[in-house]
């Protein structure tokens, strides 16, 4: 092999940096959606590299459901401050109040779907024309179909049957006023690529990604953290377990994995041998129908 070749992580990184710079060049008001999860942390690392030694030329935006893990919020604030980045937080609870929306009910009442309202309002409030997200195509079958530059109409809706051709590495981000583009710079990364990258770059993560003791209940084979956001029934048995999280979502719809892995090395080794997908193991909101994600995306979700 000649020395002028890149390994797979270097190739993915170069591609993502190219996408970030394209966003900065083509749009007037981009924003990076930041949740404090590993995918959005990876996005920020890539953005930092894309614009070094300058600052990241757009704000970080967090749509806060109010059901987040406190560890993720603490990380979010500290991380943004260290980066010197502008952090914009908008709360789903405020949207619910202002718009008189109905809170979902049930044992694991999730505000996941309601995020879309807050997101669309935030896009309008700041006039964002591009929103950068950390979705990956390996996550889910509707995402596997989505373009890197995904054009959304005035209502934030995705039309999977009418996607723009996306040829070579040429991105067409032209839109009309009111429309916006969702951009996914790590589309071609897999979960394991993200973990390997975090390991090779030595990026600090929120503590919930590593083994810790937590009170959980077992529900249909999944471990859900005890929190004020879920309903504990009499039949539920609260147990203490050593767990870690594979994704960071809402406390209402993210399940933990039993694990003793305390270092990045150990976490990556566990991910490498797992036989269950990230979403399958940890998200209880995707299981409703076979097309749950497709439907949410059509409605303006990421």
């Amino acid at each position: 092999m000649s020395k002028h070749t890149l390994n797979y992580l270097e190739q993915l990184e170069a591609e993502s940096i190219h996408i970030f710079r394209e966003v900065a060049a083509q749009f007037e008001r981009p924003a990076l959606l930041f949740s404090g999860g590993k995918d959005s942390i990876t996005l920020v690392q890539l953005a930092k590299k894309a614009f070094a030694p300058g600052k990241i030329p757009f704000p970080l935006v967090h749509i806060d459901t109010g059901h987040n893990f406190p560890e993720a919020l603490e990380y979010r604030d500290r991380f943004a401050a260290e980066m010197g980045a502008t952090l914009i937080v908008r709360n789903v609870a405020d949207t619910i109040k202002q718009k008189n929306l109905t809170e979902p009910k049930g044992k694991f009442a999730s505000r996941n779907w309601l995020q879309t309202y807050t997101l669309l309002d935030t896009i309008e409030e700041f006039g964002f024309d591009a929103c950068i997200g950390g979705a990956r195509r390996d996550e889910e079958k509707a995402r596997a179909k989505e373009r890197i530059f995904s054009v959304r109409d005035e209502f934030g809706q995705w039309d999977p049957k009418l996607q723009r051709p996306e040829l070579w590495n040429i991105f067409n981000g032209k839109i009309n006023k009111g429309e916006n583009v969702r951009v996914f710079p790590i589309s071609n990364w897999t979960e394991l690529d993200v973990w390997n990258y975090i390991r090779s770059e030595n990026i600090p993560l929120p503590s919930i990604y590593f083994s810790h003791e937590r009170e959980v209940i077992e529900f249909e084979g999944q471990l859900i953290a005890v929190s004020p956001f879920i309903r504990i029934d009499e039949s539920d048995v609260i147990v203490k377990k050593q767990v870690r999280y594979r994704t960071v979502g809402d406390m209402t719809c993210t399940a933990a994995v039993e694990s003793l892995a305390v270092t990045l090395e150990e976490v990556v080794s566990e991910i490498m041998i797992t036989r269950i997908s990230e979403r399958g193991e940890t998200r209880i909101d995707d299981k409703v129908t076979e097309a749950a994600m497709e439907d949410r995306k059509k409605g303006g979700y990421f």
């Binding site: 060049a25 894309a50 079958k141 051709p165 040829l167 590495n169 040429i170 032209k174 997908s277 497709e294």
Partner: protein, 413 residues
Amino acid sequence: MDILRFITAGSVDDGKSTLIGRLLYDSKSILADHLEAIEKSTKNKENGEIDLALLTDGLRAEREQGITIDVAYRYFSTDKRKFIIADAPGHVQYTRNMITGASNVDLAIVLIDARHGVVEQTRRHSIISSLLGIPHVVVAINKIDLVNYSEDVYDNIVIEYSKLAKQLGIENVTYIPLSALNGDNIVDRSLKTPWYEGKALLEFLEGIEIKDAVNLTDTRFQVQYVIRPQTEALHDYRGYAGKITSGIYKKGDKVKVLPAGIETTIDKIEIAGVEVEEAFAPQSVTLLLIEDIDISRGDSIVKTTEDIAATNEADVLFCWMGDKPLQNGNKYLLQHNNRRVRAVIKNLEYKIDVNSLEHIEDVQQVKLNEIVKASIKTAAPIVFDPYKKNRSNGAAILIDETSNATVAAVLFQ
């Protein structure tokens, strides 16, 4: 470990989805919960076996109709390589989506049903593969079990396809007899085809060296974004960020900025803010130049020794992708990597019949999915290479400014 990107083209009837399902399944890339979901879907149907094809169709409309509408990307890796599959539709109506998938790959797998041999779709997919300059084609002669693993059937298809490949100028072709349904010659060589001496498909994909996947000869770089931190410490910093399209750049290289034609020298090359001595395609870098020159997005920086000029006219082949036909004389926006200029298509020379490969002259109207030879005139000069010489600097798209739609894939001749 590197990445191999490949496309699979064919209709559901060719067994394309089953082939991908088989590759994922046999390389143990399908996770337990995904498999469970498929088993659930399969049970709603008649026969009991797991339908591997269900792994690949993602949209509701696709599952309902049993066809692939848009390209889906699949990922798997073995100890040797990471693979990205562009799982593309085969139906003529969705050709533009197939081209989307085909534009970025190193290899194409063209599926042929052993019972039917080379058919219209085989021709269309091969033409697209050849037009897009995909460096390697694998002809997967599928359903070999349904012709009793016959060597004669295989030989005849090889002879038939070789003629087509020759006609299209496809040089690197590999033929593999296989059964996606039964797993013959997918991961391991099948005992049922003792006459076949080549590799099984996965073994082949793991081992193939793609020649010329990246052009390291011609130095091409387009400014994508200008980094100007404007802080006190970095007051005079002005970095030209972009992806090296092709070639290798070194600190101290004498370069010229096109289309202006101004010569200068590379002062520094940075990757992610860290200085390096040299950089090569397809790295995303930042170039700093010795002189302060007026340079903006879309300008090219090439070595002074390069024999390339900026021009306003070019011969092109283009595939029309707009739902509305091409309006003769209309102006479109041409986007060549990062550079956007107004352009008009002139002199429609001929259409290519994607079945017979014949040139049809006297072109009156250009409709969706038609491939046409023409010339293009641009309002400002562009710095391109012929696509055949340099894929990454030889392609562009056309944008309809009234709808913002991407309406054509353009290949410079």
